[in-house]
């Protein structure tokens, strides 16, 4: 396949839907150079699948995106339309959290029994969308572990330097972890 190959949106849709056959998946894997227009085609395919109009800037998870919303803010948004807030804050802190701490609780998600993580050393955290209850993430970590910010994209750099299509709202502070703004507010609220 030529290095300048363009992959059809139909094939991209099949990847997204999980219906692509092994031959086509292998063919894509064996491209010596990936199709450069994939990202924009991917976004178009994703945009057509969601029920809202906000522009998808990046897909973070199966049902999770960074979008530019109606208020021209870059926020994390669920398939169902729920907004988690500024994408520079760890979106997991906008979730509902269920924690499995006991062996019996962990046994519900690990099989067979000896495969269960050990309580005390580990806990299983599940992060749900507060509206549709989609399970967006699972952490198996030590108790007390800071919630992991899995991926903070540098969107301006991506669109300008990697894609050659700068975003209209470029600014110097879009690539900064702002999670502590939230925890600071929570701490202040606890203090009274």
């Amino acid at each position: 396949m030529a290095s300048e190959a363009s992959i059809s949106k139909e094939l991209i849709s099949q990847l997204v839907e999980g219906t692509i056959d092994d031959d086509n998946a292998t063919r894509l894997q064996r491209l010596p150079r990936k199709d450069q227009d994939r990202f924009m085609n991917y976004c178009a395919v994703l945009q057509a699948r969601v029920s809202w109009q906000d522009q998808i800037l990046l897909r973070l998870g199966d049902k999770l995106y960074v979008v530019r919303n109606a208020a021209n803010q870059r926020v994390v948004k669920c398939d169902c339309g729920h907004e988690f807030g500024d994408y520079r804050q760890n979106w997991k802190l906008g979730c509902k959290v269920r924690v499995r701490r006991t062996l019996a609780e962990m046994r519900e998600v690990y099989d067979p029994a000896p495969a269960c993580p050990e309580p005390g050393w580990q806990e299983v955290r599940e992060f749900f969308c507060p509206d549709c209850a989609a399970q967006h993430s699972v952490e198996v970590v030590a108790p007390g572990y800071p919630v992991v910010f899995e991926m903070l994209p540098d969107l301006d750099k991506f669109y300008r330097d990697y894609l050659g299509q700068p975003l209209p709202d470029e600014a110097g502070d879009w690539y900064a972890d702002r999670t502590a703004d939230l925890t600071q507010r929570w701490a202040a609220s606890a203090a009274g």
Binding site: K63, E118, E139, F158, T179
Partner: protein, 745 residues
């Protein structure tokens, strides 16, 4: 009167190298690279551009030499572990140890090449007493040779031309036994390097492509599997000799001047391709990951009291693409300790480069270009860069593989976000193996390693389909579990009663991981003694990676079961012996299999001595899922039930919200309406049983402030908060007061 044999081969005095010293060569390489940003200052690929056919012909001959070395040498003389498994590898390097070409095999072994050569350069090996063409060096030390663990043994042979070192041919394999107090090839209970077995800083063991006679005695007297190890030693050297000869042919054909320029262009060319690939596949930003691995020494290290404690190893890393490629930063990971799981920078590189080579060197020459593109930060004093020179590195692979998984999963997240979904899958490194020693009834002693669940594991789920069983080995393109008969031949009293995929043993999600594996080893007439330990990657007390992908669960870790004192002879008569861990536990529960001493090991086990009809059962190689389990196609759940991949209906029904009915023949059929209702109920339960993150945070913060943790977790935080980066993250996240710390009060 005794006649003293005259020496047949008198070694002449060593000639003084007439070219630049190794130290000068390394210095020049570094200067040119740092000043220009191009490898060796190569701004233009002039040879390639002037005559690309000649250039590619040159490289293909180089590459063919290392490929031929592997495919020939392991059939000249080799242990089953080297011949059967996908690890052994040959390579050729520049004078400074930078990789030019590698064979099939465990590609990231290339990470150690420059470490060993630079040690030789820094210590003037070429000045006192010189390096000649065909000189043979042994390397198995982490600190001076960069090796991942002493079980990995390297042979370096010098390639010299007209008084100058022009390169090195290198062969490597994992030994069947390396002579540590803990028998096998990962000395799991080492406290420091003096317990790691046969540890060789770079040392000359032969000349003119022949080992010297004394070297054989080392294998015979310092390891428990000398026959196997001598075979492998011959194998490594045979391959190196082939590369050495082929390189001299190349020098004769192309000339030294062309050779010296071309080897620099090859590396610069691949560096550029790798950086380009990173830009083409990644999304810039910061990717974080973590993992944990327990060291369970408490109560088992009474002789070495300073090591008699448990340690929860914290593996922490971030990945950040940049102009030069990407940066992998491990700051925040645990400090080094008196245990066998410490790494060195070279050993950590050998893990980190696994995913990086696979992801970014797929369409170019596999060279040291990867080492230039992947920048690493291993904080001094950490488990990846100890500030104590005698740390044990015997089993560093049990935790550094998690480091690779974190980096590799960052690439998967990026390709998923970028739309290259065909490349995105869950990376796990959950391996298992067992090792030990024995003495047969006639007094024959032996040591052994069984690599099977290291050689082939389940691959994590793709973002668009289930993971496959057995096909995955992060460390090699050649995933293979080896032949059962070969392993049985290496361990005389152990026979396979079963060797199969373990049903249900994977991370669950919309797409499930490839199932892990389980084997039942039956001890028959062990003679005077047989005992084993198990080194293991992710033990099941912790998962091998900390983060699931897109709402799926990380794959479970490995575990094992020892069943000593059994009624197996009765079961054999009935033809009802267990074939995997699940079947064994079911037979114990039903009373069919009686066991005097049944132990389930989710942590490191001490040496287990086995007697007639004892059973040793292991499970490893599971992998994580991808996506929300409630989004799994119900028909895939039914297929897993009917195929026996997921044997526990109640478990998968609650995991995936699928309701099914079973007919008289045992076949499952979907109840679609009930499934819809169950999924709705489970989603409601998720919301009912969870807390808003803000409320959860307040509760958890109180526990953090009270330091309400088990000792292992407390110490883990104490160690990781001693590094500024994680300390800052922890404090910002939990908003703890400035005076808060985890120091021992």
């Amino acid at each position: 009167m005794a006649v003293v044999n005259e020496r047949k081969h008198v070694v002449p005095s060593r000639p003084v190298n007439t070219g630049p010293t190794l130290r000068q060569q390394v210095s020049e390489r570094d200067r040119l690279t740092e000043e220009t940003g191009h490898y060796y200052g190569i701004a233009d690929l002039s040879l390639r551009d002037a005559d690309p056919i000649k250039y590619e012909r040159f490289y293909n001959k180089l590459h063919a030499a290392v490929l031929a070395a592997r495919e020939s040498a392991r059939f000249v003389a080799a242990s089953p572990g080297s011949r059967e498994m996908g690890e052994c590898l040959w390579g050729i390097t520049t004078p400074e140890g930078d990789t030019l070409a590698v064979s099939m095999g465990f590609l990231s072994h290339t990470a150690i090449f420059p470490v060993a050569i630079r040690y030789m350069a820094d210590n003037d090996y070429d000045v006192n007493d010189g390096i000649e063409d065909g000189d043979v060096y042994a390397v198995s030390d982490g600190k001076t040779g960069g090796v991942p663990h002493p079980g990995d043994f390297y042979t370096f042979t010098a390639i010299c031309h007209e008084g100058e070192v022009l390169g090195w041919a290198v062969g490597i394999n994992h030994l069947m036994e390396n002579g540590a107090p803990v028998a096998g090839s990962w000395a799991t209970f080492s406290v420091d390097t003096f317990m790691d077995g046969l540890v060789c800083p770079p040392m000359r063991t032969g000349r003119k492509l022949h080992q010297e006679s004394w070297w054989k005695a080392i294998w015979e007297r310092r390891t428990r599997a000398s026959t196997m190890n001598i075979l492998d030693d011959k194998m490594r050297l045979a391959g190196c000799a082939m590369i050495n000869n082929a390189t001299h042919d190349l020098l004769a054909e192309f000339g030294a001047e062309y050779y010296k320029r071309a080897i620099r262009e090859v590396i610069e060319e691949s560096r550029r391709m790798i950086v380009d690939n990173m830009r083409a596949l990644m999304v810039p930003g910061t990717y974080n990951g973590c993992a944990f691995r327990l060291v369970k020494y408490e109560g088992l290290q009474n002789v070495w009291s300073h090591a008699n404690k448990n340690t929860l190893i914290h593996v922490r890393a971030s990945v950040e693409p940049n102009e030069k490629g990407l940066m992998l930063d491990t700051e925040g990971s645990s400090r080094w300790g008196y245990h066998s799981y410490n790494a060195t920078p070279g050993g950590a590189d050998a893990a980190v480069f696994l995913g990086m080579i696979n992801s970014f060197a797929h369409n170019t020459k596999v060279t040291a270009g990867i080492e230039l593109a992947v920048q690493r930060h291993y904080a001094l004093g950490s488990i990846y860069n100890p500030d104590y020179e005698f740390t044990s590195n015997a089993n560093l692979w049990a935790q550094t593989v998690a480091l690779n998984s974190i980096g590799f999963n960052a690439v998967s997240r990026a390709t998923f976000s970028r739309g290259y979904m065909e490349e995105a899958f869950t990376i796990d490194g959950n391996w298992g193996a067992f090792q030990g020693a024995g003495t047969t009834a006639d007094g024959t002693s032996y040591g052994f390693t069984n690599f099977e669940w290291l050689g082939g594991t389940g691959r994590g789920a793709w973002c668009y389909k289930d993971g496959e069983p057995l096909v995955w080995a992060a460390w090699s393109q050649i995933a293979t579990i080896g032949d059962a008969e070969e392993f049985e031949a290496c361990v005389p009293p152990l026979f396979y009663l079963g060797r199969k995929l373990l049903p249900g043993y994977f991370g669950y999600g919309k797409y499930r991981g490839g199932p892990g594996n389980s084997a039942v080893h039956w001890c028959v007439e062990p003679g005077k003694h047989v005992a084993l330990t198990r080194p293991n990657g992710g033990l099941s007390c912790t998962t091998s990676v900390g983060l699931g992908m897109s709402g799926a669960y990380p794959g479970p870790g490995s575990f094992m079961i020892s069943a000593r004192g059994t009624n197996l002879p009765e079961l054999i008569k009935e033809g009802e012996t267990p074939r995997d861990a699940r079947e064994l536990l079911a037979q114990v529960d039903s009373g069919q299999l009686t066991v005097e001493n049944l132990e389930i090991w989710k942590t490191d086990c001490p040496e287990l001595a086995l007697h007639d009809h004892d059973l040793f059962v292991d499970a490893a190689g599971s992998s994580g899922g991808w996506g929300d389990p409630l989004d799994r196609n119900p028909q895939l759940v039914i297929a897993d039930l009917n195929d026996g991949v997921a044997p526990d209906y109640d478990f998968v029904s609650n995991m995936h919200g699928v309701v099914a009915t079973q007919n008289a023949d045992g076949d499952w059929t979907l109840d679609a309406a009930a499934t819809t209702a169950k999924r709705t109920a489970l989603r409601k339960a998720r919301l009912d049983e969870s807390l808003p993150a803000a409320d959860w945070w307040q509760q958890e913060r109180n526990k953090v402030l009270a330091k309400d943790f088990v000792p292992e977790v407390h110490e883990m935080y104490s160690q990781s908060l001693s590094f500024a980066k994680f300390d800052g993250e922890f404090r910002r996240f939990w908003q703890v007061p400035a005076e808060f710390n985890f120091s021992k009060e």
